[in-house]
Amino acid sequence: MELLKNFGFDPILLAAQIVNFIIVLWVLKKFLYKPILEVLRKRQAAIEEGIRNSEQAEKRLAETLDKEKNILKEAQAEAKKIIEDAKNQSVEILKAAKDSAQLAGENLIAEARQQITQQTQEAEKGLRKTVSSIAIEFLQKAVHEIFEEKDQQRIMSKAIKQLEKKPN
């Protein structure tokens, strides 16, 4: 006990200091530590949320980038397909046009040939008609000179015989 007194240790003071300390501790705990801890906790939570959100955003960004890549890929493939189709179609259209032009040309030639044949036939017919009418006309004029009275009488008798046979 004297040792403790030599060191300046006072029990009442100690007790009072302990009480004081407790009171201060309690006051600090109630009015300082709690709010600060609360703030810290909130900050931590916010930071954690921020980290979580950024992770999610990164994830979504990655997903979006992936999607974008896929869409681009698909679009490229489709564009390629469209170009191929267009090429094939153009080839087909060209071929069809060529075929139809050829057919039209052949038809024109056939029509022209037919027309030529027809016109030739008509010309021949006309010529034959003209020649025959000229020949008959000439014959009619010439025969007048050839037939004598005897010939005419003979023809007349024949005609009358034929009339006698026919019904009247």
Binding site: K125, K129, V143, H144, Q152, K158, N168
Partner: protein
């Protein structure tokens, strides 16, 4: 008065083979305009049926008695057409006989043109 009666009147207008003028005058005075038209048309038809038109190439071929025998009880009207060349053409109402050189030549022309 219908067509049948007008026809009877037309037949009655004839005395033998020729038209009796008195009868014709009497009948025409009794007919209406429409009936008169009918009467004239039927008379024309009768005359046509009674007449034979004979066309010859020349007067030298004329043989009246022969044709009279061929068409008894008919009036024969003779025409001359040198274009027939030789032979005869007879028209007996709607029967036509072309027995002449011109017709033969036309037949030849038609067969050539076929």
């Amino acid at each position: 008065m219908n067509k049948k009666y007008v026809k009877r009147l037309c037949v009655a207008s004839y005395k033998g083979n020729t038209l009796d003028q008195k009868r014709v005058k009497k009948i025409t005075s009794l007919l209406t305009r429409k009936e008169l038209k009918e009467y004239i048309n039927i008379l024309k038809l009768i005359e046509k049926k009674k007449t034979v038109f004979v066309t010859l190439a020349s007067k030298l071929q004329l043989n009246k008695s022969t044709f009279q025998k061929l068409f008894p009880n008919k009036k024969i009207v003779y025409n001359y057409d040198t274009s027939l060349i030789a032979g005869v053409q007879t028209i007996n109402y709607d029967i036509v006989y072309n027995l002449n050189v011109k017709n033969e030549l036309e037949k030849i022309e038609a067969s050539i043109n076929e």
